[in-house]
C-alpha cells in the first residue's frame, strides 16, 4: 500500500493552495478544540484554587456523640435525640492518628489545630476574631500565610499573633505592637502582632488570627486534645476519596472540601459540558469540511479514477488513496492546530498564578494528544464517504469515447 500512499500524497501536493486551505481549516478547528480545553480546564483550576486554595481539603473532627437510643427502632416510637452539650467536641486521640495520616501517600500537609472565638481589644476598639491555634512550624500549611504576608514574619512565639490586614487596619495596629485577646472562655492575654497577611479573602483578612497551639490551649482552656486536624492533599480532586479513607481508618469524622461547595462543583460541571459541546462542534466542522473537500476532489478526479480502475487498480486501492488523503489532512491539520494552540497558550501564566482579570487558560490542559487523535479519526471517517464514491466510479462512463 506504499504505492497508494504515494498517490495520495501526490494528489495532496498537486493542488497546494486547496490542500493548504483545507489543512488550515482543520488547524483552526483543532485550535478551537485545544483553546477550549485549556480555557475550561484553566477556569476550573482558577475557580477551585480561588475557593479551595486557602482552606483545608479534608477536615478531621471528632464525630458528634449522640445519646444511644435505648428503644429498639422497630418499636414504632418517635425518638427525639438531644445533642449532648455537656462536652466540647474535641479530638483526644489526635496524637495517635496524626502520624498515620501524615504517612498516607498523597497527603501534602496536616495541621492539628485548636480553634475558638474571641475579641481583639485595643483601647476602646474591639473586633470579633476567629482564632486558630497552629503548630508554630505549620502556620502556612493550609492557607499560605507566608506568601500572603504584607508585613512582619510568620514566626509565632508563645506571646505573638498573626492577623489579617483588614483587621489590623480596623484596629489601627502594626507589626510589633501589642493587642489584647479576650477568648470566649473568658481568658485574656496580651499578644504582640508578629505578622500581617492579606489573602484576598475578606472573611479571613477581617476575621482570622493565628496563634501558637500552646497559646490557644491557654486561651481556650483546653489542657489536652485539639479541635480538629486540617489536611492538605497533593491533588485536591481526591478529597472525597481521602476523606472516606481517613474516616474508615480512624473512625473520626472527615469532611472533604467538596461537601461545602456543591454550587461550585455544579458550576464547574455545567462549564465542562458547555466546553465539550463547543469542542464537539469544532470536530463536526472539521469532519464536514474534510468530507466536502474530498468529495469535490473525487468528483474532479473521476476520469483519473476511471483510468486507474481500467489499468487494474481495485476498489480497495481507490478507497485507500482517498482515506489516506483524509488521514494526512487530519494529522497535519491536527499537528499544526495543536502546535499553534500550544504556542498561543504558552505565554499565559498557569491559572494558579493568573493575575486578577487575566485569562485563566491552562497550557497544560490543552488536550493536544486527544485533539490530534480525534481529528485524525474524524478526518478518516470523513473520507470514507468520498472514498466509497470514488471506488464506485464506473470507468466506462467517465473515460468517454
Amino acid at each position: 500500500m506504499l504505492y497508494g500512499f504515494k498517490i495520495a500524497l501526490r494528489y495532496l501536493t498537486a493542488s497546494k493552495t486547496q490542500t493548504g486551505l483545507l489543512i488550515a481549516g482543520v488547524g483552526v478547528g483543532v485550535f478551537v478544540f485545544v483553546f477550549m480545553s485549556a480555557l475550561i480546564g484553566g477556569l476550573a483550576v482558577f475557580l477551585v484554587q480561588r475557593t479551595v486554595g486557602n482552606i483545608a481539603h479534608v477536615t478531621i473532627e471528632e464525630p458528634a456523640r449522640d445519646p444511644i437510643s435505648l428503644l429498639p427502632q422497630s418499636a414504632g416510637a418517635l425518638v427525639v435525640e438531644q445533642r449532648a452539650t455537656s462536652q466540647r467536641t474535641q479530638l483526644r486521640t489526635a496524637d495517635a492518628f496524626l502520624p498515620l495520616i501524615d504517612a498516607m501517600p498523597g497527603v501534602a500537609a496536616t495541621s492539628p489545630q485548636i480553634v475558638g472565638n474571641g475579641f481583639l481589644v485595643r483601647g476602646l476598639i474591639t473586633a470579633p476574631v476567629g482564632v486558630t491555634g497552629v503548630e508554630t512550624a505549620k502556620v502556612s500549611a493550609i492557607a499560605d500565610i507566608g506568601k500572603a504576608l504584607v508585613d512582619g514574619s510568620t514566626d509565632l512565639g508563645n506571646a505573638s499573633i498573626i492577623i489579617g490586614s483588614t483587621l489590623a487596619g480596623d484596629l489601627g495596629i502594626g507589626v510589633g505592637q501589642v493587642v489584647r485577646l479576650q477568648s470566649d472562655r473568658g481568658v485574656e492575654r496580651s499578644l504582640v502582632v508578629s505578622g500581617i497577611f492579606e489573602l484576598g479573602v475578606d472573611a479571613l483578612d477581617a476575621r482570622a488570627a493565628f496563634v501558637s497551639l500552646s497559646s490557644a490551649r491557654t486561651l481556650f482552656d483546653l489542657p489536652q486534645g485539639i479541635s480538629r486536624i486540617e489536611v492538605k492533599l497533593d491533588d485536591l480532586n481526591q478529597a472525597e476519596a481521602y476523606a472516606a479513607r481517613i474516616a474508615a481508618e480512624t473512625g473520626l469524622e472527615a469532611t472533604p472540601w467538596t461537601a461545602g461547595n456543591a454550587q461550585l462543583l455544579d458550576g464547574l460541571r455545567a462549564q465542562a459540558s458547555s466546553g465539550n459541546l463547543i469542542k464537539a462542534f469544532a470536530l463536526v466542522t472539521i469532519i464536514i469540511g474534510v468530507a466536502s473537500a474530498l468529495l469535490l476532489s473525487t468528483y474532479r478526479r473521476r476520469p483519473e479514477i476511471g483510468i486507474m480502475r481500467a489499468m487494474g487498480a481495485g476498489r480497495g486501492f481507490v478507497i485507500f488513496v482517498f482515506v489516506t488523503q483524509g488521514a494526512l489532512i487530519g494529522i497535519l491539520g491536527g499537528l499544526i492546530g495543536a502546535g499553534i494552540g500550544y504556542a498561543a497558550l504558552s505565554p499565559f501564566p498557569v491559572p494558579e498564578l493568573a493575575p486578577p482579570g487575566g485569562l485563566p487558560v491552562d497550557v497544560r490542559q490543552g488536550a493536544y494528544g486527544l485533539a490530534i487523535s480525534l481529528t485524525a479519526i474524524g478526518a478518516i471517517l470523513a473520507s470514507i464517504l468520498p472514498a466509497r464514491a470514488a471506488a464506485r466510479v464506473d470507468p466506462v462512463s467517465v473515460i468517454g469515447q
Binding site: M308, A310, G312
Partner: protein, 226 residues
C-alpha cells in the same frame, strides 16, 4: 495461430430496466481474435465500437452472450477477478489518452506494474524507461503528463498499455485526436510492436486510411461484426 479470445451471441442493451428508452447496440455479435493479430474495428460513429471494446476489456458486462479469453469465462467473474485479469492481460489506449495529469511520463507508464506490486519496483522503472525509449520519448521521461503534446501523450499511453506485457491491447480511436502525421507515427509504432512482440491489437477507427495499415478489418454494422 491459437485463439486468444472469443465472444458468442454478444448482446448489449443500454437503459434496460432503468425506465429509459432501451437502446440495443450489440445484437448477437460473434468475434474471434487469434494471438498476434493486428485488427481494425471499423464502423460509423454510434455503431457500437466503443461498447464492444469496453466489454472485451472487462470494463462492462454484456447483457447476454459468452466472453472467453485465455480460456477463462469472463462473463461470470466478479469485480476483483476482472480487475486483476485486466491488469495482467489487457492494455488500453483511449482516444483522449487519459494519462494521470499529476504524474510524470515514466510514472504513468509504470502505473499498471506498481498498482500490482503495491510499490514502484526498480525492475518496473527499468522496463518503463525501456518502453519510453521504444516510443521515442527518452528525453521526456520525467515530464509531467500535462507538459506533453497530443502525439507524445498518446505514445506514453501506448507504452503504459504495454507495461505488464499484456496479450491484448484494445485501442479506441487512438488516432482520433491526432493530426495526420502523428496518427501515421502512432500506427507505425503499433505495427512495429505487434510485429516484434506478437501482442494482439484491436484498434477501433472510422478512418479507412488508418484501417488500411491493419492486416485484418472487422466491420461493426447493425449490432453484428463481419
Amino acid at each position: 495461430m491459437s485463439t486468444l479470445l472469443e465472444v458468442r451471441n454478444l448482446v448489449k442493451t443500454y437503459g434496460e430496466g432503468e425506465g429509459e428508452a432501451e437502446t440495443r447496440v450489440l445484437k448477437g455479435l460473434n468475434l474471434t481474435l487469434a494471438t498476434g493479430e493486428l485488427s481494425a474495428l471499423l464502423g460509423p460513429s454510434g455503431s457500437g465500437k466503443s461498447t464492444l471494446l469496453s466489454i472485451l476489456g472487462t470494463l462492462m458486462q454484456p447483457t447476454s452472450g459468452e466472453h472467453v479469453m485465455l480460456g477463462q469465462d469472463l462473463t461470470r467473474a466478479g469485480d476483483r477477478d476482472l480487475t486483476e485479469f485486466r491488469n495482467r492481460h489487457i492494455g488500453f489506449v483511449f482516444q483522449f489518452h487519459h494519462l494521470l495529469p499529476d504524474f510524470t511520463a515514466l510514472e504513468n507508464v509504470i502505473f499498471p506494474a506498481a498498482v500490482q506490486a503495491g510499490r514502484e519496483t526498480a525492475a518496473a522503472r527499468a522496463r518503463g524507461r525501456e518502453l519510453l525509449v521504444r516510443v521515442g520519448l527518452e528525453s521526456r521521461m520525467d515530464f509531467l503528463a500535462t507538459k506533453l503534446s497530443g502525439g507524445q501523450k498518446q505514445r506514453v499511453a501506448i507504452a503504459r498499455a504495454l507495461m505488464n506485457q499484456p496479450e491484448l491491447v484494445l485501442a479506441d480511436e487512438p488516432t482520433g485526436n491526432l493530426d495526420r502525421a502523428s496518427a501515421t507515427q502512432v500506427m507505425a509504432l503499433i505495427a512495429e510492436i505487434n510485429q516484434n512482440e506478437k501482442t494482439t491489437f484491436l484498434i477501433s477507427t472510422h478512418d479507412e486510411k488508418i484501417a488500411e495499415t491493419c492486416r485484418r478489418r472487422i466491420r461493426v454494422a447493425d449490432g453484428k461484426a463481419e
